[in-house]
Symmetry: none
Subunit: 225 residues, 2 copies
């Protein structure tokens, strides 16, 4: 779940924002001055920081600069000042977006979503699957068996990828054939038999007695970690 750090010296605004954001399903952490904001950001992983520039203890751009020393968390700046020099200063200090008060809540939320979206698709989630006989890194498209890299052909990988991303779930033959070869091949169950045998030969310790790439007779296949 995404955690939003809200920093504003006005407790009313903080509370109002917190309620709204929680209503959107975000986890919310708050701070009312620069020092505690930096401290909070260091305490736990934060997805986005919403920062008011008018803080009592330190200048807003100073907070941004300090945070940027060690963190790349997206910063959305709120400010009452409309002057463009303020905006330029904040943005060049390392902020990612800037809204002037008064602002529309829906606009704030939309900009928040934009920041979160970009953050999420740049931070690649590491998808690793390990079993007793092989290890697969779905991100790198790499499979190793007892320390050795296992070469996969495109078709082999396509099938394996689908199965590994759905552990314990039954994948019907039609699903596999449609995903890999296209809808026109939905009845060519032969292909699957050939390639499942190939995959087992490469990945199972005992290909004739598979433990992870399981056949469900009459239905399809299932990957069991």
């Amino acid at each position: 779940m995404n955690t939003i750090l809200v920093v504003d010296d006005d407790p009313h605004i903080v509370r109002a924002l917190a309620i709204t954001l929680k209503g959107q399903g975000y986890t919310v952490v708050t701070a009312t001055d620069g020092q505690s904001a930096l401290h909070s950001a260091a305490q736990r992983p934060v997805s986005v920081m919403i920062l008011d520039l008018g803080l009592p203890d330190m200048d807003g751009t100073a907070v941004i600069s300090a945070l940027r020393e060690w963190s790349t968390v997206p910063i959305l700046v709120l400010s009452a000042r409309h002057g463009s020099s303020d905006k330029v200063e904040a943005l060049d200090a390392g902020a990612d977006d800037y809204i002037t008060k008064p602002f529309g809540l829906d606009e704030l939320l939309a900009r928040l979503r934009a920041l979160l979206r970009r953050r999420n698709d740049s931070s690649e989630e590491v998808t690793m699957v390990t079993t007793s006989s092989f290890t697969a890194n779905l991100d790198k498209r790499q499979v190793t068996k007892s320390g050795q890299d296992v070469r996969m052909t495109p078709t082999e990988w396509n099938i394996l990828d689908i199965l590994l991303r759905n552990p314990d779930k039954l994948i019907t033959q039609q699903q596999l054939l449609t995903e890999v070869w296209g809808p026109a091949y939905a009845k060519e169950a032969n292909y699957l038999r050939v390639y499942m045998a190939q995959l087992r030969r490469k990945l199972e310790t005992e290909p004739g007695n598979p433990r992870h790439l399981i056949t469900e007779p009459g239905m399809g296949y299932r990957f069991v970690p």
Copy 2:
């Protein structure tokens, strides 16, 4: 160098922006309607797209959606409409920022820098790569092999850069072609073969039997340190 794609139906604005941006050292490409904007974006790699919502041929959000089908390039929206629903719509369609006209040029440039900064530092972590046969400094764009500097052409470097920044990760042919030549060249696998051979000749100790620039048949290439 960063390439900015400017899209606006008013030629005056396009020219004014182009001059300003070129003055900042950016490479500028322009378009005056949605279709040609999408086409331009597909022709070459673009760092940021500046998009006016009031285009003659298609709705602004439609342009965003169409672009997001295959590209993650940051989009900065310009619009004359102040309504918050317009902003929400554009941002949720996939835009990254939204400025209403009239806007301050310095603010636009600052927001542009913010977008470029995030795009560039999202992948800048490892700058030195060493293998048994060559050493590369990704910051300085310098490669040495057994003490000797190796000259790289721009295209060669672009390819190498992507591979080196993703060690052990399989990069598909489409990814490479899209990043280096632009999405329009996604099927010109010939180019890759020529340039991979070139890179191997320059970097591998045994070009015919590569140890670091590995081909994954039917899929793409992989850099193995």
